[in-house]
């Protein structure tokens, strides 16, 4: 049954090479923790991806209830956390996952750094990785404002004030982020848009580039 559907599609689209490219490859001994326990450091990239997927999924569920305006934002977060079944789990996953993904990404970066895997021919993948790093920090910064409690409000205020002290472009950055002169209604809608559309879009594009490069080049060899 599945086989014949697969064959039907494969006849038309020739998808076998496609999924082979994705999945059909060998895992060499030096990155396999089953052979050398210390190879667990090679798992951090995969774990980062795992948590990233959790972030995207839990975030999608959060937007079903979250209302990005100054009057309702706080109440909607409170409501979805305490009144919606599993709301506590969904918000908890997104909140703590945001920290966990940073930790995992950090460990992954250190693994790549200390195994010298960023060296030729993998320079571009390292640069893409650093861009992912910045995108992640951007997601953390913009997401922090969304619950619209005092902690969110004042951290964002200080953050944007710091950005505003950059010469020449500081004022532009600040008015781009504020959408006005203060942290207010415009800031919240902006941060929401950046947090759920712009940065995740960029993140997915960068992850695609990251993974394509890994498949092209293979994992770096043993030390």
């Amino acid at each position: 049954m599945f086989k014949s559907i697969y064959n039907w599609i494969d006849e038309r689209l020739d998808i076998t090479p496609l999924w082979r490219d994705v999945a059909d490859h060998e895992v060499p001994e030096h990155v396999n923790p089953a052979h050398h326990f210390s190879a667990f450091v090679y798992c951090f990239g995969g774990l980062t991806f795992f948590i990233t997927v959790i972030q995207i999924l839990s975030g999608m569920f959060l937007t079903m209830y979250y209302v990005p305006d100054v009057i309702h934002a706080y109440a909607s977060v409170d409501y979805l956390q305490h009144q919606i079944p599993f709301g506590k789990i969904v918000r908890g996953m997104h909140h703590f996952g945001a920290s966990l993904v940073i930790v995992m990404m950090f460990l992954h970066t250190l693994r790549v750094f200390f195994t010298g895997s960023y060296k030729a021919p993998r320079e571009m993948n390292w640069v893409v990785g650093m861009l992912i790093f910045f995108i992640m920090l951007g997601l953390g910064f913009t997401g922090y404002l969304l619950p619209w409690d005092n902690k969110a409000y004042f951290a964002t205020k200080v953050g944007v004030e710091i950005a505003a002290s950059v010469p020449y472009i500081g004022d532009y950055i600040a008015s781009f982020l504020y959408g006005g002169d203060i942290v207010g209604a415009q800031t919240l809608t902006r941060f929401f848009a950046i947090h759920v559309f712009f940065l995740p879009g960029a993140l997915i594009a960068m992850l695609a580039a990251h993974f394509i490069m890994i498949r092209r080049q293979g994992i770096s060899g043993p030390l």
């Binding site: 999945a23 774990l47 100054v70 956390q81 920290s99 920090l137 004042f154 060899g221």
Partner: protein, 287 residues
């Protein structure tokens, strides 16, 4: 011009389309025969083990999430001047760094773009700065020690920032808002009350005994300055005035006015009316 499949042609198109035929014709990915040791197929062997690890991680994560609720403080209040701003923990090192002399105030340039730009720039361009062939970290003393040094610095700054924050809280006797809030919710629920919302309602609290005849005098004389709901306009809000002033004091203000702009009503309305209004206003208390 038709595209024949001549072998000397540089670009070969697939069928009648404009899609270039891929160079990797059989679609076989590079293999790992170059690596020593036992390699293992990604699917299904390795992936299965990976998923098992993934499940363990997920269960651990869920336990954490269920044990601890994501924090939420009080609703943002831009006029709150005493709130100590704190970014999320992974920004603390930068936040702390910017507090040091030579990277703040007159030198803030150095702090906001100088040092961070160099550090993050170097990290971004690491492959082009460290171009040697050697990959083992102990054979790359400069790169490795720079990274270890940065790690130590970031850890140090984060710890200092956090303990400084804790000290501040203790000094000022502040309980972080999300703890205080959680505690209040717990107490309210224990008393069997509704879950408190902590939102400031914009609606002005209802007046007490609004059907009292005194209110019609107030409506005639006072609302041009104190607003129809007595929420304040040119004159201050009179809601909750009974908490601060007695009926005698209010009568005194109404009779003689104040220097701050409250007109004297002596002779404009009768003393009896003033007493009536004062007694009614004195009842306007708020919890």
């Amino acid at each position: 011009m038709a595209h024949g499949h001549k072998s000397d042609e540089k670009v070969v198109y697939v069928g009648d389309s404009r899609v270039k035929k891929s160079g990797r014709i059989d679609g076989t990915p590079p293999d790992y025969t170059a690596f020593p040791g036992k390699s293992e197929a990604f699917i299904p062997n390795f992936l299965l083990k990976e998923w098992m690890v993934g499940c363990v991680v997920l269960v651990g994560f869920l336990v954490w999430v269920m044990a601890e609720a994501a924090p939420l403080g009080y609703p943002a209040d831009p006029t709150n001047a005493s709130f100590i701003p704190m970014p999320d923990w992974y920004f603390l090192f930068l936040y702390q760094f910017l507090k040091y002399p030579y990277v703040s105030q007159d030198y803030v340039l150095l702090g906001t773009i100088g040092v961070p730009a160099i550090m993050f720039g170097a990290l971004l361009l690491a492959p082009f700065l460290d171009t040697g062939k050697e990959r083992r970290f102990y054979r790359r003393p400069i790169a490795s020690s720079l990274m270890l040094l940065s790690l130590a610095a970031v850890t140090y700054l984060t710890v200092v920032s956090w303990s400084h924050y804790q000290d501040q809280l203790e000094e000022k006797g502040i309980v972080p808002e999300h703890h205080e809030r959680a505690e209040k919710v717990r107490e309210a629920l224990e008393r069997g009350e509704e879950r408190p919302s902590f939102l400031k309602t914009d609606a002005t609290p209802a007046l007490i005994e609004a059907d009292d005849p005194a209110f019609s005098i107030v409506e005639a004389q006072c609302i041009s300055c104190h607003a129809a709901d007595l929420g304040g306009g040119a004159g201050p809000s009179l809601i909750g005035i009974g908490n601060r002033l007695s009926s005698e004091e209010i009568a005194e203000i109404i009779t003689h006015g104040t220097e701050g702009g409250m007109p004297a009503f002596e002779g404009m309305i009768s003393d009896e009316e003033i007493t009536q209004i004062s007694e009614w206003l004195a009842k306007q208390t708020q919890s």
